[in-house]
Amino acid sequence: MSDLPRRLELPSPLGFALLVAAAALVITSLQGIGFSASGFFSGLPHMGRMLGEMFPPSLERAAPMGKALLETFQMALVGTVAGVALSLPLAVLATRHLSPHATVYHAARALIALFRTVPDLVWALFFVVAVGLGPFAGTLATTVDIIGFCGRFFAEAMEEAERGPQEALHALGAGRAAVIAAAVIPAAMPSLINTSLFSLEKATRSSVVLGLVGAGGIGIELQVSMDLFRYAEASAIIIAIFILVVAVEQCSAWLRRRLI
């Protein structure tokens, strides 16, 4: 008889030790964050009261809210456009077979990794110090965040672009620029469009919170409303954010269908 796949087995001693260690890690982490079930349940009435006060949402400050919402979208839009535009050349340098030199390739990869791994809120703190409070700092933070995101995916798309057409262009005497523009980018285009539209959605969501560190947008409005216990105002802001994010997502889905 051929081998039957085995039944569930007891783990080996080493496997068992690892399981115990993982469980211990979760339990100490629960202690570390001060988890308390009683705290959660005693907090429920507060949450209920807060929710009650949130409705109906107050439109008293509709005008400044609208302005902040528009600013949030503008930060996301400009940050995305600048980020995508800067990502393209950086991604070319970070694509192994297109990069002019191995050192340049590794430097470009390292820069993209740095932009990607440092969270956007940290970049916002940095730019608030560098250029002052306001949406410009937020836009710069968004730009850097988008470069980290797009740079990586653009480079991957270019790396995966079909090599045959590139070889054909080399064979007929094309230089690097022509090969990139006429063969690599057209091949990677669906992926580039997709990533760019996704960045716009991502940038919109992150622009909302950048206000919390003073980098412009609607985040600061939300924080002020919460700090002053104006929950009805806060709920209006949350609904406005929801509408903005959903609208951007819908537009980007529509564009994606049209363009790809």
């Binding site: 079909e162 045959g164 057409p165 070889e167 054909a168 262009l169 080399h170 064979a171 007929l172 005497g173 094309a174 230089g175 022509a178 523009a181 006429a182 063969a183 057209p186 091949a187 285009m189």
Partner: protein
């Protein structure tokens, strides 16, 4: 002047001497020597992995040979700098087995790419921004392969035979002096293959172009080649005028 005297008087378009290339531990080309005269059509035959494609690619340094020399249109290929190499490549058409068109671009842009090396800047990258004269030349190249009505179609919406014709038009756009073709019809069904091959060879003869092509179709080798060169294990083992060869003899070469 007779053809033989002419061949003596003009230097060969392609002269390969002692060419060797290895990929890792595999010796793909071993001491290959070959000369192709002006206007000659040479068929390269040999089993898969015999080194045919590598030989063609080495002549344009799409693959860097390890040793040996290549003289192409009176240029010492191995000593050329990047710019001179590009200018030389522009004078040689190359038709690939897999056509290698840029899939998402229109047919006309793909043909226009043939002019990339002689046009500075992005003028020959996309037909939408190309000057009128270039667009018209690309259109006439398409007409010569009988596909003028497909100029606006995207390259990935063509049949195999159409793609290869467009690739031939792209090579014509280079105004080539010599043409390489690497199994130009191997990816096509037999009917389309015959059609494309006939169209291709007709153009080659009309332009009096020198041609080096690889093929697995021995009948093509005998019909379209003035000379047949056989590679086996990276070495030249046959080099004879096709008039002196026959089909059964060539078949036994593969055994």
């Amino acid at each position: 002047m007779s053809a033989i005297e002419l061949a003596v008087a003009t230097p060969p378009d392609l002269e390969v001497g002692g060419l060797s290339k290895r990929f890792g531990r595999v010796e793909v080309l071993r001491d290959v020597s070959l000369a192709v005269g002006k206007g000659e059509a040479v068929a390269l035959i040999g089993a898969n992995g015999a080194g045919k494609s590598t030989l063609l690619r080495s002549c344009l340094r799409l693959v860097e040979p390890d040793a040996g020399r290549v003289s192409l249109l009176s240029n010492d290929v191995c000593s050329l700098g990047a710019g001179a190499l590009r200018r030389l490549r522009a004078r040689v058409g190359f038709v690939f087995q897999r056509h290698n068109l840029v899939p998402r671009l229109p047919v006309l842009s793909n043909v226009l790419h043939g002019a990339v090396a002689r046009c500075a800047g992005p003028r020959a990258w996309f037909h939408e921004i190309a000057p009128r004269a270039l667009r018209e030349e690309a259109m006439s190249c398409l007409e010569r392969v009988g596909l003028a009505d497909l100029a606006a179609r995207r390259a990935d919406q063509l049949s195999g035979g159409q793609s290869q014709r467009v690739a031939i038009a792209r090579a014509l756009m280079q105004r080539p002096e010599l043409m390489f073709a690497d199994e130009p019809v191997a990816s096509l069904d037999p009917a389309a293959g015959e059609e494309v091959m006939a169209c291709f060879l007709d153009l080659i003869r009309r332009e009096r172009l020198t041609l080096v092509f690889t093929t697995h179709d021995l009948r093509h080798a005998l019909d379209y080649g003035d000379r047949v060169v056989g590679l086996r294990g990276g070495r030249v083992t046959i080099d004879a005028p096709s008039a002196a060869l026959d089909l059964p003899g060539l078949r036994s070469f593969y055994e």
